[in-house]
Symmetry: C2
Subunit: 302 residues, 2 copies
């Protein structure tokens, strides 16, 4: 089978970008969409995120080969129940959530008879909502598919081809391992960024104005991540609790070691870590996962 029609449930950054990518690449796939917020539906129709914005989830998924749930992971169960009455028997149900074991559970409970194949495109920006999406969001990025046991091979093939057609590179992974990997490459970085921005804005001896003025020293990078969607991220931490707490434990151990090195003026320990981490940056750039220009290619005034 190959995917000829896609229904997108949730028309924010991810859902909108999928619709725009299908259009921009001229793929022979019809698109429908729905969002529970009428204002988002109206804006999605204006921007043409999908060909047809429907008034109900049921109508949006009617006859679709592939349904992609693009909602916060805590809302997956509700979204799945909303589409249930309209779902075609042959439809693949997938998603874009940042945690995968919890989503797989929620979807299989809500849709016990459906062909469910969770997925996670590792792509995004700090923006959200129907104006945030753009057609090239997935280009060159990895999409991790976490097929459940006994998953239909043809459906898995079709979903992989779909993401490849959007410009992604596809990797298959066990849901539990996905959650561990993403805890360290995404969830902990977000938690740390949110926390330090919170810490900085709560100090008595340094004003918020000073924090903002002198943010170019490094802090501003963290403010970008800490501007990400609050509902989405609340749900990520609640749904990937085990892996997040595990990785957070490793991080705080290492941070305590650095604290001790600073306190005891152990310059060698600091220098060793600071040298080792440069190699990771080089690899990230070499593998096309970031812009290699200084400062992410940020524009500097004149």
């Amino acid at each position: 089978m190959s995917v000829r029609s896609v229904a997108i449930i949730g028309l924010g950054l991810l859902g909108g970008s999928i619709g725009l990518a299908i259009g921009a690449r001229g793929l022979p796939i019809t698109t429908t969409g729905w969002d529970r917020d009428p204002a988002v539906r109206a804006r999605a129709a204006q921007r043409g995120l999908v060909a047809t914005v429907c008034d109900t989830a049921e109508a949006a998924v009617s006859g679709a080969d592939l349904v992609i749930l693009c909602v916060p992971v805590g809302a997956m169960g509700d979204a799945a129940r909303a589409i249930a009455p309209g779902l075609a028997p042959h439809a693949i149900v997938s998603d874009v959530g940042s945690s995968k074991a919890a989503v797989a559970d929620a979807l299989s409970q809500a849709l016990p008879d459906a062909c469910i194949i969770p997925a996670h495109p590792v792509a995004g920006t700090e923006q959200s909502g129907p104006d945030a999406g753009f057609a090239t969001l997935f280009a060159g990025r990895w999409c991790i598919i976490t097929p459940p046991e006994g998953c239909d091979a043809g459906a898995l093939q079709a979903l992989s081809e779909f993401w490849t057609a959007l410009g992604s590179k596809v990797e298959l992974m066990d849901a539990g391992h996905h959650d561990l990997v993403l805890a360290v490459t995404s969830h902990i970085p977000h938690l740390i960024a949110y926390t330090i921005v919170g810490t900085a804005s709560d100090l008595e001896d340094v004003t918020q104005g000073e924090v903002i003025k002198y943010s170019a020293g490094g802090f501003r990078d963290f403010t970008r991540i800490a501007a990400s969607d609050p509902v989405m991220w609340r749900d990520v931490f609640l749904s990937n609790k085990g892996a997040v707490l595990e990785m957070l434990g490793r991080f705080t151990e290492d941070l305590t070691a650095m604290q001790r090195a600073i306190r005891s003026a152990d310059g060698e320990a600091l220098f060793d870590l600071f040298t080792r981490t440069r190699a990771i940056r080089r690899a990230v750039i070499e593998q096309g996962q970031d812009d290699g220009r200084p400062d992410f290619g940020r524009e500097h005034g004149d």
Copy 2:
């Protein structure tokens, strides 16, 4: 007085950018420079970072109105001793170091009779060396000057005008307060970034290859900061120990609170923090301290 000649000691990212900015803005200021590394001196001459690259520090500062030490903060004392024999009696000695109380001490010990006015332009990239500098690095960025007690008013005025002429906005601050503010807006963010990149590369259950592949989930931002110059940053932590440990304590308290919120599934605490931090990002952008485009304006492939 106004500055007619500048000697730049250390021709890396900061020193090179000062020289290039003077040239690009057509300021009526002659530039000389020196670096202790002959290869850096050769490259600086090729790139024209300053008008005259000298063979000794003494020659470079001879007759200069303003000498700017652009070396790691741990090397300030040595640099100051190297320039001592050539320093003109009227010269202002300044620097660009990221910690200020320790630098003020080191400089006044090495040059007890000189007019010393430490400064810190809050600008930079993750790159270093004689190829890293560019003329617009300081445009729109703050330069914090920390005049010592009894500082000559005319000299302070001349230094302020110099940084303003490079496109910076100047702020005067007590050295101790500077060190506290920068601990939170720069030093702790760097320490956290170095640490999480180290943690991620040391895991047994997640490979380094996976960390790199899926870095677009947030981690890649931290790899940029963690690619910063190791010597410079080792010295920052050793020289600003008190303020860094103080701010690190606040951060880890807050991180522990977030850890508890995740463990006890307190979604409200997470949502509250994640909402509050968005306002800081907006202020950073409104005040021109970061690129407001999604993802720092990073290019997305097609």
